[in-house]
């Protein structure tokens, strides 16, 4: 069996909701042993295990499809950090942990008695990555966020939409995903530093700050040219420039036309195709593909500036043509002619119809013991020497209590069973339903270690 790149790295994972778990998902996929510390409180939707896709079917904490995907390759333990025994278990785990990741608001770890100073006393070279929305420093560190508020606060919501309309914003928590990726990047950078110098550290990430870094050219246009983004024609929809407003760059690369989404045959919700021409050569190819209609050979469309100035007419003519062609056929015909084009894909399209993602094996079937066999999202890169197939489903709740608490800390089977009754490893007020496996004593090595 080949190794994975982060083998030997242990991560204690206190994350919840999306941004944090998406961070640790990638650390786990890359081979780190990610130990998810959970507390099965139904008031917290079992730490995100229910709710979301396939969560509401009464199957208990192990029936969440979304959780299965975002926790793939992780291990799960249940520990009450707010009990003295539970806190001691976490502190004992710190001694054998390389990285701690959490995305609570700023004060939570301190309140638990698990702030960075405590961690560092236990494990001087520990890496602690906090992923609070506002970070741990700054006057509003106590403020909290969800993905949509991160996007709003960072300027990302504003740049999505049509001019003179409300912001269209983002139809999902882009900054939960991207905040998670930034968390993983921060962890990997800190791991590299530790590998080179032996030194751990606290990395204080802010999800909002991460979002702001994605608006650089607009911020520089402001600081260097004093040009605000609240202006006529901004944001320019899918275009690089909105017709009838002063000609200028709008921070989406080159200011070119055509640059838009066009209706395609069928006219349904997802029957659209994006077409962009960055050069006159690409435009000429598009004209030829459309059959060189008279309108398209008019001199006003021969240059990029002409096309920008007559964009309404240009787009209307192009759409008259695209409406007659199915979106994938349109995309393929454009591409065969050297014109950049891409079908607007739905979630179903990507999982079921996209031939490229299929060729790249981005979704592969995986069996989960409770919910069955479903496609699992794979990594978007291929490592030649250390492949990272996602090959383990999301953990059952507390599935690794015995292997981690017993295997790493030497806690006995009986003590673990006591922990389910005394509030250390399971909340006293929550019935232990759907978790029969917690009472199945494993045979073999772990059991004999106790003897």
């Amino acid at each position: 069996m080949t190794s994975k790149p982060l083998e030997g790295v242990r991560v204690l994972d206190f994350t919840w909701v999306r941004a944090g778990p998406w961070c640790t998902r990638w650390l786990a996929v890359l081979g780190a042993e990610v130990v998810k510390v959970e507390w099965p409180d139904p008031r917290l939707a079992f730490n995100g295990r229910i709710g979301g896709a396939m969560g509401a079917q009464g199957g208990g904490p192990n029936a969440g499809g979304h959780a299965n995907d975002q926790n793939a390759e992780k291990l799960s333990i249940t520990v009450n950090v707010r009990s003295p025994k539970g806190l001691q278990i976490i502190k004992d785990l710190m001694l054998v942990t390389d990285v701690v990741v959490e995305n609570f608001s700023a004060s939570v770890m301190d309140d638990w008695g698990l702030g960075y100073e405590v961690m560092r006393e236990l494990k001087p070279d520990i890496i602690y990555v906090s992923m609070a929305g506002f970070g741990h420093e700054g006057r509003h560190a106590a403020y909290t966020t969800m993905g949509p508020s991160v996007q709003a606060l960072s300027g990302l919501t504003f740049l999505s939409g049509l001019p003179d309309a409300p912001p269209a914003g983002w139809g999902w928590s882009y900054m939960d995903d991207t905040g998670g990726l930034y968390g993983a990047m921060s962890t990997l950078a800190a791991l590299h530093h530790k590998q080179a110098t032996g030194e751990g550290q606290h990395v204080d990430m802010s999800q909002v700050a991460a979002g702001i870094t994605l608006t650089g050219p607009a911020l520089l246009d402001l600081s260097a040219n004093h040009r605000p983004s609240r202006r006529a024609g901004y944001p320019p929809g899918n275009r690089a420039h909105w017709p009838g407003t002063p000609l200028m760059n709008n921070y989406r690369g080159r200011t070119v036309a055509p640059h838009n989404a066009y209706r395609t045959l069928g006219g349904e919700h997802f029957d659209w195709c994006a077409i962009t021409c960055a050069t006159d050569e690409e435009w000429s190819s598009l004209v030829a593909l459309m059959g060189s209609p008279a309108w398209a050979t008019d001199a006003q469309f021969a240059t990029n500036v002409g096309r920008l100035e007559h964009q309404l007419e240009l787009d209307a003519h192009i759409e008259d043509w695209t409406r007659t062609v199915e979106k994938y056929e349109l995309m393929d015909r454009c591409q065969a002619s050297g014109v950049p084009a891409g079908a607007v894909q739905s979630t179903e399209d990507r999982v079921e119809h996209d031939p490229q993602l299929r060729a790249r094996n981005l979704f592969t079937p995986m069996t989960h013991p409770v919910i069955g066999t479903f496609p699992m999202q794979q990594a978007p890169f291929q490592l030649s020497a250390t492949p990272v197939p996602v090959s383990r489903h999301g953990p059952l709740l507390g599935e690794h209590n015995v292997s981690i608490l017993g295997g790493l800390l030497g806690i006995s089977w009986d003590e673990i069973q006591d922990g389910y009754r005394d509030g250390t490893l399971w909340p006293a007020h929550v019935p232990m339903e759907h978790v029969d496996y917690l009472f199945e004593r494993p045979s073999g090595q772990l059991a004999s270690r106790e003897g």
């Binding site: 030997g8 409300p166 991207t178 891409g342 607007v344 490229q356 020497a385």
Partner: protein, 419 residues
């Protein structure tokens, strides 16, 4: 021998070569600001990305592209023509000194000129080489032409962003601006590269990474894909909130100052205690309506009344500025945010406290400008912009000197079109 360190950041012992166009420049900037010695190779005369606006003082020259400035901080810049035999030889020598080569040429180009991973790892087995390309190195779309917008279409971003029919009739799916297909690809490439470097630190060997913009975008739409996979429900576009299989309550509200706030505070379940907090707040303007009524203290009744509660909230927001709503909501424990334009972001005092905005000198202009800074504070190995983006060929003398090119030869290399 202790390794040479370039910057103080966590990647301060790494040398990265970036070549092949705009797709890789964000990933390389992230590494450069974290301390890596990133050598950006441009074709003689300068990279095409220098033609992208906006430009300083709206004077469009290759050294004044603010786009180029943002995406190339802390890098060293050299010019090199890989089409020439001499250029290829110099590239090989540079790659021998590198920890990472990050390239975004069309698939197959570098191998076709003898500079693929197979050739480079022969003399530098520790090399981590990443090809970051639109669709990766194989598959039916491998050679398709793209742009940021085309990626947002096929990646699924556009399919999930847009408008309720009542807000903008017949609206197209919206591709958010700002270059986020490239950003997303850069983030995953960074993760892949750093993991390979960690493995190299343990095992000694480098490797090749095939990273795809399309794969990256397709993976970055949160719960939409899992709703299809597990429930066979297709999410559809709505104004300013998550695309959903069935229409969901609005979350974006217009305030008295003409700006919007976006919140999930009324989109998720609300507790009776939270409603009392909200009612007290709205009552300060006499706009609590009936929210203090006992009947809402029953959780079931409360959640059955969310449309009404949202209506009351809309009236309160319409009478209150977005900043007041923002701080008022946050002080009461709600994770609400104002929809800010960059000019409001730049004025935010919290991020100024964090030292987020940094001043970068442009000595050739005798001026300094404020740049966006770090997503994270690295307490032991500080992030920094060590220098503004390189001028065209600014570091030719230094970098080529480091690989043993005699200084007097550089003139001939320039005359020959090699650099």
């Amino acid at each position: 021998m202790a390794p040479e360190r370039f910057g103080n950041g966590p990647l301060g012992d790494l040398r990265v070569i970036e070549v092949g166009g705009e797709v890789g420049e964000w990933c390389a900037k992230l590494m450069a600001d974290l301390g890596a010695d990133v050598i950006k190779i441009e074709p003689p005369g300068g990279a095409a990305e220098r033609e992208i606006g906006p430009f300083l003082d709206d004077i469009p020259t290759a050294e004044r592209s603010l786009h180029f400035w943002h995406y190339n901080t802390s890098k060293r810049g050299i010019t090199l023509d890989l089409e020439s035999a001499a250029g290829r030889e110099l590239f090989r020598r540079l790659a021998d000194t590198a920890d990472v080569v990050l390239e975004s040429y069309p698939p197959g180009y570098l191998p076709s000129i003898g500079l693929g991973y197979r050739e480079l790892e022969g003399s530098n087995p520790r090399l981590v080489m990443c090809s970051l390309t639109p669709f990766g190195q194989q598959g039916p779309w491998r050679d398709y032409r793209t742009s940021d917008l085309v990626h947002l279409a096929v990646g699924g971003q556009m399919g999930e962003c847009g408008y309720d029919e009542v807000d903008v009739a017949g609206a197209p799916p919206i591709g958010p601006g700002g270059g986020n297909a490239w950003h997303t690809a850069g983030h995953y490439a960074f993760i892949g590269i750093m993991s390979a470097l960690f493995y190299r630190g343990v095992q000694g060997a480098g490797q090749y990474i095939d990273a795809s913009v399309h794969d990256a975008c397709a993976l970055t739409t949160e719960g939409g894909v899992t709703q299809w996979i597990y429930n066979h429900a297709v999410v559809k576009r709505q104004t300013g909130r998550h695309a959903a299989a069935n229409p969901s309550p609005r979350t974006q509200f217009l305030c008295a100052d003409g700006r919007y706030v976006n919140t999930l505070m009324f989109g998720l379940r609300m507790s009776p205690q939270q409603l009392l907090v909200v009612a007290d707040w709205f009552d300060q303007r006499g706009l609590a309506a009936d929210l203090k009524d006992e009947k809402y203290q029953d959780p079931e009744a409360l959640n059955g009344s969310m449309p009404h509660i949202i209506e009351v909230a809309e009236r309160f927001f319409a009478a209150t500025t977005s900043d007041e709503v923002y701080h008022g909501a946050q002080q009461r424990g709600f994770a609400l945010g104002p929809v800010r334009a960059p000019e409001e972001v730049a004025a935010d005092e919290h991020f100024r406290d964090r030292g987020f905005f940094v001043t970068v000198e442009h000595p050739e202009l005798g001026r300094s400008f404020e740049y966006p800074g770090a997503a994270a504070i690295y307490h032991a190995s500080p992030w920094s912009i060590r220098r503004r983006a390189p001028l065209i060929g600014e570091d030719n003398v230094e970098v080529f000197g480091e690989i043993g090119v005699a200084r007097e030869a550089l003139g001939v290399l320039r005359e020959s079109g090699v650099i």
